[in-house]
């Protein structure tokens, strides 16, 4: 029983030492030798082995306190965060996300089983990956080709960082300062992390302040970041891919513009529209098929009418859905931050894209909402 306790103590202590494995082993051995020696002396003094163990352990103090002291020595040593990360799992999770993100617009389009009649006026748009093959919304598509290279590289960097913030990994922070946190993030994020000292100081927050602790293993980097920054009443922005830790007011002053390709959100819904809710088109299609005596020209002009009607009907449907999404976002995600409710953030739509000016944190919530909606085909 007591023997067990002895071993338990050492195991517990070892597990609580937030140190590199070799340091941990060395400390454990040193302490074990001490305990053994003390045990021997106590037994030599006439105590039973069990009593000796009890006393030796009592003298040592509780394992948690001891582990904390050693960890604090180590903290002074490095003045930086300590972290154990399952690098392999992070990398693979990241790759999966990258794949997912790069493929999803295509996936959305594939869903649209377009009738050939409609596609004739719209050759498959293969020249641009963002252009839609959906005839209902093509007219409203953004002409993105001209400014693409600069916008894409900057936006792509921002997107990288946003994706990386969603990676889950096991990491530990022990009594870390904001500098420690930013160092840790700089290592984890491809485009780096900065502290906006000037704006932080305006809020009276020092870079060495903070007593940040974290040891959840299944949370995303973003969740950790937001939880820890809440403690010191700071927030973050993403600029040119760089994660910038800054004050709340700085973030409100300089909103991020994010263009959401909401097509994926509607793809399945649009299919439903075509199959069920476009009686005009169906009627006309039937008419074409049945009118074998119609001449070629009339057939063509009928076809054009069908396309026009389909397009109009479709884009109206799309417009309605975008408005729905906009309303949903404005009422469900930080309602008071939106212009319509007296805030500074705004939302508008062009084609099948939502253009949202918001803080990075709210963008994160919007992404979650849209992802959830897409996952459940919620519209």
């Amino acid at each position: 029983m007591s023997e067990r306790e002895f071993e338990h103590y050492l195991t517990l202590l070892g597990s609580m030492l937030r140190l590199r494995p070799e340091q941990r082993a060395e400390i454990a051995e040193e302490l074990q030798q001490h305990l053994d020696e003390r045990l021997q002396d106590l037994q030599a003094a006439g105590l039973s082995r069990e009593d000796a163990i009890q006393q030796a352990l009592a003298e040592f103090g509780d394992a948690a306190g001891l582990a904390a002291q050693f960890s604090s020595v180590s903290r002074r040593r490095y003045r930086r965060w300590m972290m154990r990360a399952a690098t392999a799992s992070v990398t693979s999770a990241f790759m999966v996300l990258v794949l997912f993100v790069s493929f999803w617009p295509t996936g959305g389009r594939i869903e649209l089983a377009l009738p050939t009649t409609a596609q004739d006026t719209n050759p498959p748009a293969s020249e641009s990956p963002v252009e839609s093959a959906d005839p209902f919304t093509t007219e409203a598509d953004l002409p993105t080709t001209k400014t693409k290279s600069t916008v894409t590289s900057r936006e792509a960097k921002n997107a990288d960082t946003r994706v990386q913030l969603e990676t889950e990994s096991a990491f530990e922070l022990s009594d870390a300062s904001l500098s420690d946190l930013s160092l840790m993030l700089a290592e984890r994020l491809q485009h780096g992390c900065l502290l906006d000292y000037r704006r932080m100081e305006e809020e009276g927050v020092d870079r060495e302040s903070g007593n940040l602790n974290w040891n959840l293993t299944n949370a995303s980097l973003g969740t950790m970041l937001e939880t820890l920054l809440d403690e010191v009443q700071l927030t973050y922005q993403i600029r040119d891919g760089i994660l910038v830790i800054t004050s709340q007011s700085a973030a409100d002053d300089d909103l991020s513009l994010v263009i959401y390709d909401a097509e994926v959100l509607f793809s399945s819904a649009v299919v439903v529209v075509r199959n069920e809710a476009n009686p005009v088109e169906e009627m006309l299609l039937q008419l074409v098929q049945q009118s074998s005596d119609l001449g070629k020209i009339e057939l063509d002009s009928l076809q054009a009418s069908i396309d026009r009607l389909s397009e109009k009907f479709g884009s109206q449907q799309a417009r309605m859905r975008f408005n729905q999404v906009a309303d949903l976002i404005e009422t469900q995600v930080d309602p008071n931050s939106w212009e319509v409710n007296g805030g500074v953030a705004s939302i508008s739509s062009v084609g099948n894209r939502l253009i949202v000016r918001q803080t990075e944190r709210t963008h994160r919530k919007i992404r979650k909402l849209l992802d959830d909606l897409a996952a459940t085909n919620g519209l």
Binding site: I27, E29, E30, Q33, H34, E37, L66, S72
Partner: protein
């Protein structure tokens, strides 16, 4: 604030105690603990839980050095004062003496303590 000063004071004095005991000869943890207890006529009992983190801290600061001794039946980690540690000890001892004298004078002023010859340190 008062707590902070107190704990700083305590930590400072513990450093001083450990450094002074190591100044006599290199020691491993268990031996150091015993020496401290013996030298202070059992007045100072530094728990292992306090002593080891402290030793590691002193080592990090370059005031003591350590090495594992494999020659005995039991593997032991010996600690030794470095040159830097010795300098630090001398300086700290002076400071401590000044501080103690200062406190003593203050207390003597208000007749809370009667000056006594310093006990062996």
């Amino acid at each position: 604030m008062a707590d902070q000063i107190e704990s700083e004071l305590l930590r400072g004095s513990m450093d001083l105690m450990v450094l002074s005991v190591l100044a006599q000869s290199p020691k491993y943890g268990y031996l150091l603990q015993k020496a401290l207890s013996d030298n202070s006529q059992q007045q100072i009992k530094l728990s292992a839980g306090t002593m080891y983190p402290l030793l590691h801290r002193l080592e990090e600061a370059g005031l003591v050095s350590s090495r594992w001794d494999e020659s005995t039946r039991r593997r032991r980690k010996w600690y030794e004062l470095t040159a830097k540690g010795r300098k630090k000890l001398i300086k700290q001892a002076e400071l401590w003496q000044q501080y103690a004298n200062c406190i003593n004078r203050l207390l003597t002023e208000i007749k809370l303590v009667i000056p006594t010859p310093a006990t062996q340190g």
